[in-house]
């Protein structure tokens, strides 16, 4: 598991209503259906992700398919970090 994944999973575990382990989070995991993240937690999670990775998630990034699935969310963060460098 890459360092980005470890840090991202830590943020997800913190914001999930369900008690989950890092290894339960897979690319096709739905943060809403599988881990009970609701709308307000999602907003808090975005804030946490932004500060954890020092990136900005733009409005156009917040399309629900991207944010609610672990795989696409991870890809988005990797893209944002590489754009920053």
């Amino acid at each position: 598991m890459s360092e980005i994944e470890v840090r991202l999973k830590k943020v997800i575990v913190k914001n999930s209503r369900k008690e989950i382990l890092d290894n339960e989070i897979a690319d096709n995991s739905s943060l809403t259906a599988d881990f009970g993240v609701d709308s307000l937690q999602m907003i808090e999670m975005i804030v946490d992700i932004e500060s954890e990775f020092d990136i900005t998630i733009d409005d156009e990034d917040t399309e629900m398919d991207v944010l609610t699935k672990y795989g696409p969310l991870k890809e988005l963060i990797i893209k944002k970090i590489s754009q920053k460098q």
């Binding site: 209503r17 369900k18 008690e19 809403t32 009970g36 307000l40 409005d59 917040t62």
Partner: protein, 508 residues
């Protein structure tokens, strides 16, 4: 000419209407009624579609009085809602977040013989109802197909009324332990009265455009947003998926939204949103909010961040259809922290424990009277008698008046926790946790949380300290059986739970 006269009469306030009449008024109206994602429906289409679905369901010869809706916010939800109204049955919305036990107990308690859904939710329903002993027909609105589950017919409770407008139109869920559920019965008259009061209070017209982001089955949204705007022939725009601040600003700008209703947590996300000034929101006349505590300092920040928007602080209760008071924008600063004064056709008093009116600045319980007050809790006369006395609804909310009659909430008599605008009843979570083999005693209390206002936490005494059950296991147990928002955010293991002399849990 005749039609115009009738319409005028209705706008003036005919309270003997039925819910279906609200749509019938607009049956020839070709204006768009509801927009959702890339689809829209005119009033005429909404009417025709609901009538057609009602005809289909009529053929099934439904013996129950009550019909469930298991759909997310959508045009389909509105069609299902009016379909049931045209059948002159009672609407029983079920939140799509509900878990198996919550849905099946609702179906059994509310005697649902039919539940309306769509293809997406069909699978969930059929899975949840697998092995359910009672006969339930699930109607898929997408393909007009019926699926029958179970065998045994449910015993039906007959409703006795002397006039149709006093018939129950909708049953909304409030607190819900499985052993003592409280389903609020709102009549046609209750709803229409509150709709008319809203229109008068906020001076809404057919030119208004409302944005709906709250669940449509919430009392707050059902009357103050959905029915109110259908009544005046305005445009309803439904937000898809989760509430996100960027989506809110974009939709207000693109659709030229004139009013919105939300809970404090939603408004706080608008305040914290970094691009809030990027959008043109000058069309927005009102943001109504209620359902939880709004810190005064945050409200001041909102008023100064969005000076063109009129903020309306409201107070209500599902049992009152729901709106009771409103603080209009012109008093937002001078009476900041107040929930305002009663809206038209609603009487409010603040009384002490003896039932006498309190003086200015003295704390008492808010009691409410008017045609908006519910008929009662379904099949629960005992609980109804506890809250409706001599025609007054005892809200359980504590408040004070100022010298101009403005009301300020100061607390609650009930144990209720309000999290993100949603009412959570500790007893429901406690009842579930008590079924866990490792739990000996449990007490659920609300803990302050900046964005949500409050969040439930569980204090638990284990049967056996050596049982090894973890916080995570207990949270997941709740997650499997309760809607997500009811799951305690943390579990504290304690040696004992303080009790009163009579053995009741001391919550605070």
């Amino acid at each position: 000419m005749e039609r115009k006269r009738n319409k005028h009469k209705l706008y003036g306030g005919r309270q003997d209407m039925l819910i279906k009449d609200i749509l019938i008024m607009h049956k020839d109206n070709c204006k768009v009624a509801i927009k959702y994602l890339n689809t829209e429906t005119t009033y005429r289409q909404l009417y025709s579609l609901s009538r057609a679905k009602a005809e289909l369901l009529k053929e099934k010869k439904i013996h129950s009085n009550n019909i469930g809706i298991f759909l997310p916010n959508s045009i389909q939800y509105a069609v299902a809602y009016f379909t049931i109204s045209f059948l002159e049955k009672v609407i029983v919305p079920i939140g799509i977040q509900a878990k198996k036990a919550e849905i099946t107990s609702t179906a059994e308690y509310c005697e649902l013989s039919v539940i309306i859904t769509d293809t997406q939710y069909m699978e969930i329903l059929t899975t949840y109802f697998e092995g359910f002993k009672y006969k339930v027909v699930v109607f898929n609105m997408d393909d007009n197909c019926f699926y029958e589950i179970g065998m045994e017919e449910l015993a039906i409770t007959e409703e006795h009324n002397n006039c149709v407008e006093n018939k129950t139109a909708i049953m909304l869920h409030t607190s819900g332990t499985t052993s003592n559920p409280k389903r609020v019965m709102l009549t046609h008259k209750n709803l229409v009265t509150n709709v008319l009061s809203n229109i008068k209070s906020l001076k809404l017209t057919k030119h208004d455009k409302v944005l709906i982001a709250l669940p449509m089955f919430f009392g707050y949204c059902n009357t103050a947003q959905f029915l109110t705007h259908i009544y005046i022939g305005a445009l309803i725009v439904i937000m898809d998926g989760m509430f996100m601040p960027n989506k809110f600003f974009r939709m207000v700008q693109d659709e030229r939204i004139t009013n919105f209703t939300g809970v404090p947590s939603m408004l706080l996300t608008l305040l914290n949103y970094r691009n809030k000034y990027k959008y043109d929101i000058y069309s927005l006349r009102y943001i109504c909010f209620g359902g939880g505590n709004m810190p005064i300092e945050k409200l001041k920040l909102l008023l100064s961040a969005f000076p063109s928007v009129g903020f309306v602080q409201t107070y209500g209760q599902t049992e009152a259809s729901p709106r009771v008071t409103a603080l209009l924008p012109e008093y937002a600063l001078s009476k900041i922290g107040s929930v305002g004064r009663p809206i038209p056709n609603v009487n409010v008093r603040i009384v002490n424990q003896n039932g006498s009116d309190v003086g200015i600045g003295e704390m008492g319980e808010i009691i409410v009277q008017g045609e908006n007050v519910m008929k009662g809790y379904y099949k629960n006369a005992e609980e109804t008698l506890k809250v409706i006395k001599d025609g007054w609804l005892y809200t359980g909310d504590l408040a004070v008046y100022d010298n101009e009659g403005y009301i300020y909430l100061v607390g609650r008599k009930k144990n209720m926790i309000i999290s993100g605008g949603i009412n959570i009843y500790p007893e429901e979570i406690e009842e579930l946790l008590m079924c866990h083999p490792s739990v000996k005693e449990v007490c659920i209390v609300g803990e302050e949380q900046e964005l949500l206002g409050e969040t439930p936490i569980a204090k638990i005494v284990l049967r056996d300290d050596e049982s090894g059950v973890s916080e995570g296991e207990l949270k997941n147990y709740c997650m499997d059986n309760l809607a997500n928002y009811k799951v305690p955010s943390r579990v504290e293991f304690v040696k004992e739970i303080p009790k009163t002399a009579t053995g009741k849990i001391k919550r605070y």
